[in-house]
């Protein structure tokens, strides 16, 4: 009996507190940067595509809504196409967790409703943004040993110059 009264009292007190609802869309709520909304593909600090088409986002996706195909130019991997079917996406963020290059990121934007389901299929052109997103500094190819145009073997972070196999020196 007492607990019922306590509960009713608590509810009554809410009458005098500030509203938590907002007049969306006139008033936009604050969403933290780590909010899991619309997915984007970002670029590295040099302005190149970060996605190296490793397929880890696709395999991490529990609803299998990511599909892509690897292509390569002189050692640099990139997606020939990159497709997310947002009509299936559950915004779990596993793809972002799985991404080894910080390419795929979830953003604080959820306003993407459509009348036609087909419009929820986003291709690479729809996903790719110009900036680096939440991780401004990371560049996968600066760290990895793969040689790409403009970065030869031995020029990544913490790498020595390539071995001269013809040398007999220790």
């Amino acid at each position: 009996m007492l607990s019922v009264l306590v509960t009713l009292w608590g509810t009554f007190l809410h009458l005098f507190q500030r509203n938590v609802t907002v007049a969306y869309p006139e008033e936009m709520p604050y969403l933290a940067p780590r909010y899991r909304g619309r997915i984007v593909l970002t670029r590295d600090p040099d302005g190149e595509e970060r996605c190296v088409s490793c397929y880890l986002c696709a395999v991490a996706c529990p609803v299998d809504c990511i599909s892509l195909q690897k292509a390569e130019i002189e050692g640099r991997w990139y997606p020939e196409f990159f497709r997310i079917n947002f009509s299936r996406c559950i915004f779990c963020g596993f793809c972002e967790e799985a991404c080894p290059t910080y390419a795929i990121q979830l953003t604080p934007d959820f306003e993407m409703s459509e009348y036609d389901r087909r419009n929820l299929v986003y291709e690479k052109e729809d996903l790719l943004i110009s900036g680096t997103g939440k991780y401004p500094d990371y560049n996968f190819y600066r760290v990895s040993g793969a040689a790409i145009p403009g970065k030869d073997k031995g020029e990544a972070e913490r790498e020595r110059k390539p071995i001269d196999t013809r040398s007999l020196l220790p």
Binding site: C54, C61, Q69, F140, A146
Partner: protein
């Protein structure tokens, strides 16, 4: 059997196993790198360390390398001991010190043994903060990508490439931290087994270059157990598909056939499946001569109308089409009008091979048995070019003597380096007699270079030496006689002698001689094996199916039929255009094939037959083993199994013998009923209704990604997956994901073992057959009482002629086989057609190397550049690159140096 104890568990090992093998065989997780089931142990990587205790009282024990440890009865070991586990984690940490942090852009990622072992040992965070050693890569040609930074120096690549496959141009350079695995200079890897480096390398140093061009991760591809369609060996493969495209072909272990390795033709020859010249829809030639696409029903109706209207119908079967399709054509046109789609010479050779193998007079050796032979006679066959995987098996035979020596010194067989060192240059006898040099000559005893008839005479002489009742050779040259005596002595002294020849020898007498030798050895109570190679994946099946008479492509065309049906055979590739036009004048032509070619361009009706990647079927390899292949591509559009087109047309034409031809199981039952030799083909693989726990076998890995996005670009609704009427596979990841029967293995993967090293989880014992037995059924077994029937037609000795050359066909590993020759990476390795002479003959002709030579072969003038091959016998000309043409070689041809203006 030896009992031993690991962490308190009592396990049993087979005699002669090392501890690593026994642990893996018992299902324990023990990481390793340098050990490979086919390459043995060298103890280089220190990864498989375990702790060995001297007895129950010993609680300290000592570290030993499992791969280098023989097992004594009651020996006690620990894998989980914390100090030992820390040691293994330390080894991985060292190996990873220079690893380049590029797994996302590595083709090995997801099926990487190094990844698996790193996870298994628990090394997750990098502590090393200093700089990494780097290497430059090399361009290794159209098959293999090189990324040396990923190397962990396990030495598996050079051990396979040099020690196992006999390659010379890949080696290890430098020392200590600088060791470099590559070629002396950039350049194409010469060995025809270079593709195996991809599977042998535990990490991504060597990766598959054609696969990289349309790359997908292992978990993202549908797999199907397939059979290589590019020679007669019948290697088991797994074909991988994604998004309707055949992505790659990898090895599927079969203890009896290919073991762990494939040749490059089989691995990289699949490109024709994705090529633009594929026939995808049925076409009919209109009155204006243009081909127009037609619906399936209209095509069948047209076919039926042609069948009804024709007075005489001839069916040309194919050595590369399945038993089912060939049988359907035979049923449609009648056995009396069914011809094999091969030239007269090849047809006669195939008939001889089929009769010899089916006679039951001698045991037909499987590749595994061949590998364990201890004396080999190779007659007339350039095996490394014709059937590379078989040649790789023959290459291993010379180790038998050294292995026996090592065994007598109590060195275990798995102790690879010790066995090799102990054996030194000791080799089991391998006798090779061919017209031109082969890539097995380096291990052969004084290879004989002679014309085919002389090779045959040598063989007959060997048989007569072994068994005096065998027909003797008159007037044999003394040096051949001495060689024959030496060969006979070596074969008689051997425990497991092997006689090898094949259709590529070109001369019936050579095969007859080989059969005589084998029969003679069996008559002497020897455990002899006979291996007769055939050129195509179903050559033997077709030869066993055809009636025993003089059927060939030539007789088919001479039959002057009103309607000719060609099944998956490009007769326009074998027969020169003018002759084909004359033969087909007045005949209507129906072509069932998977690719456009010279024949489809002449056809009135072209029906899209599915390739090996879109159909299932049964093939009979050179061993007489019937094996089933399944399609990885399940959405092939209009293309369907050729037998389905033929049965549909037969039904539409009112034939009653096609009732019930709706599933492959029914067709196989019909084959078994009709052709007694094929009574066992329904048992080759489980029937369509086979289920495990009520489930079909899943053909996609459980991690398969992108299901709801792959097709979303053109249709947002996900299509319903097709259901196969012919196989127990489901088209998706839904279904049984556990261990299927060996004939239905779509994927090699086990928990914690994502790479192909998971194989031991599918075997009852290491290097034994897959759990449940090797797939396939041997159709030809030796029968007691099959009387030795000597071949007595011994040819005359070879005598060079003044005005003519004896032309023999020299096979090429890349380009001779029609389907693989359409694949871009194989085309990049093809050498142009040529005619070869020795230097003296070339001088007699007055021509230098590179000069264009006009050759008159079978009444045709062919222009070929001249090559000098010093080893060719005098008067013998070696023609290469014309294997497609149904020329009756060897034969005497006229050649002359053409004027250079002519070309």
């Amino acid at each position: 059997m030896t009992n031993f104890i690991v962490d308190g568990r009592v396990l049993t090992a087979k005699a002669g196993e090392n501890l690593l093998q026994a642990c893996l065989g018992a299902g324990l997780d023990l990481p390793y790198f340098c050990w490979h089931p086919a390459l043995g142990s060298v103890g280089a990587c220190r990864q498989c360390a375990v702790r060995q205790y001297d007895g129950v009282e010993d609680t300290t024990g000592r570290l030993v390398m499992a791969c280098m440890t023989p097992i004594a009865e009651g020996a006690r070991f620990s894998i989980t001991d914390p100090a030992t586990a820390a040691f293994r984690a330390g080894i991985i940490e060292w190996l990873m010190v220079n690893h380049p942090h590029d797994c996302p852009v590595c083709e090995e990622g997801g099926e990487c043994h190094l990844q698996d072992m790193t996870v298994m040992t628990g090394h997750a965070y990098r502590r090393y903060r200093f700089t990494k050693r780097t290497h430059r890569n090399q361009d290794l040609g159209p098959f293999i990508k090189h990324e040396m930074n990923r190397c962990i120096a396990c030495y598996r690549c050079v051990r396979f490439y040099r020690d196992y496959a006999g390659g010379r141009d890949l080696d290890v350079f430098g020392s200590h931290d600088h060791v470099y695995f590559g070629r002396h200079d950039d350049g194409t890897l010469e060995s025809e087994f270079s593709g195996n480096l991809v599977e042998v390398c535990p990490t991504g140093v060597f990766t598959d270059k054609p696969f990289s061009a349309h790359y997908a991760r292992k978990w993202d591809m549908r797999g199907a157990p397939s059979i290589c369609a590019h020679c007669g060996v019948g290697c088991n493969t797994i074909a991988n598909e994604r998004a309707g495209q055949l992505r790659r072909v990898v090895n599927r272990y079969s203890n009896a056939v290919n073991g762990h390795f494939l040749c490059d033709r089989g691995r990289f020859g699949y490109g024709f499946v994705n090529a633009s010249e594929r026939v995808r829809v049925a076409t009919v030639r209109g009155t204006d001569g243009e081909r127009v696409e037609v619906e399936r029903e209209a095509a069948v109706a047209r076919f039926a109308e042609m069948l009804r209207g024709a007075a005489m119908v001839v069916g040309i079967g194919s050595p590369r089409a399945s038993l089912e399709s060939n049988f359907a054509l035979r049923t449609l046109v009648g056995a009396a009008h069914f011809y094999p789609g091969v030239g007269a010479r090849e047809a006669a050779l195939l008939r001889l091979v089929a009769d010899s193998l089916a006679s039951g007079a001698v045991h037909v050796a499987s590749l595994r048995e061949a590998e364990h032979a201890d004396a080999v006679l190779l007659l007339g066959s350039d095996l490394p070019n014709a059937a590379p995987r078989a040649a790789l098996a023959v290459r291993q035979t010379v180790r038998a003597a050294g292995a026996a020596m090592a065994a007598s010194a109590r060195i275990p067989a798995w102790h690879d380096l010790a066995v090799r060192n102990f054996a030194g240059e000791t080799r089991s006898p391998l006798f090779i007699a061919t017209p031109a040099a082969t890539r097995l000559d380096d291990i052969a005893q004084g290879p004989l270079r002679a014309a085919p008839v002389d090779i045959a005479r040598l063989g007959f002489a060997v048989a007569a030496r072994i068994d005096p009742t065998a027909p003797a050779v008159a007037d044999l040259a003394p040096e051949l006689d001495a060689l024959a005596a030496a060969i006979a002595q070596a074969l008689l002294a051997a425990e497991r002698p092997l006689v090898v020849s094949g259709v590529e020898a070109g001369e019936e007498s050579v095969i007859r001689a080989a059969v005589n030798v084998a029969v003679a050895l069996r008559g002497q109570g020897r455990n002899v094996g006979l291996m007769l190679n055939v050129p195509e994946c179903n050559s033997l099946g077709l030869a066993l199916m055809a009636e025993a008479d003089d059927r060939s492509l030539e007789t088919a065309l001479a039959a002057r039929a009103a309607l000719v049906i060609t099944l998956e055979t490009d007769i326009g590739r074998c027969v020169p255009g003018a002759r084909l036009d004359a033969a087909l004048a007045g005949a209507r032509l129906v072509v069932l094939d998977h690719s456009e070619g010279a024949t489809t361009r002449r056809a009135e009706l072209v029906l899209p037959a599915a390739s090996f990647a879109e159909a299932s079927g049964t093939l009979v390899n050179a061993e007489g083993r019937a094996q089933r292949f399944y399609p990885p591509i399940v959405t092939a559009g209009e293309g369907r199994e050729a037998w389905r087109w033929l049965a549909a047309a037969g039904r539409a034409a009112g034939r009653t013998n096609f009732s019930g031809w709706d599933t492959e199981d029914n067709v196989l039952a019909e084959i078994a009923r009709t052709v007694p030799r094929f009574a066992a083909v329904p048992d080759v693989a489980p029937p369509e209704g086979f289920r495990i726990k009520g489930l079909r076998i899943a053909s996609e890995p459980h991690r398969f990604s992108g299901r709801t996005a792959m097709d979303a670009a053109h249709d947002i609704r996900e299509p319903k997956p097709p259901v196969s009427a012919d196989s127990p596979f489901s088209a998706t990841m839904e279904g049984y994901q556990g261990k299927p029967p060996p004939a239905l293995l779509p994927l090699l993967r086990a928990p914690g073992w994502n790479s192909n090293q998971s194989l031991h989880r599918f075997q009852a014992e290491i290097e034994g057959p897959l759990t449940g037995g090797d797939p396939g059924v041997r159709l030809l077994e030796v029968r007691d009482g099959a009387a030795p029937d000597w071949h007595t037609a011994i040819p005359e000795a070879f005598a060079p002629r003044e005005d003519m050359w004896h032309a023999v066909m020299l096979p090429r590993v890349f380009g001779d086989e029609e389907q693989s020759a359409r694949a871009a990476p194989i085309r990049a390795r093809m050498t142009p057609a040529a005619i070869a002479l020795n230097a003296a003959d070339a001088a007699r002709l007055g021509a230098a190397a590179g000069r264009v030579i006009a050759c008159e072969i079978d009444g045709e003038i062919v222009l070929l550049p001249l090559e000098i091959r010093a080893e060719l016998p005098r008067g013998v000309a070696g023609v290469s690159g014309l294997a497609a043409m149904a020329y009756a070689l060897p034969s005497w041809i006229r050649i002359a140096a053409a004027s250079e203006v002519a070309l």
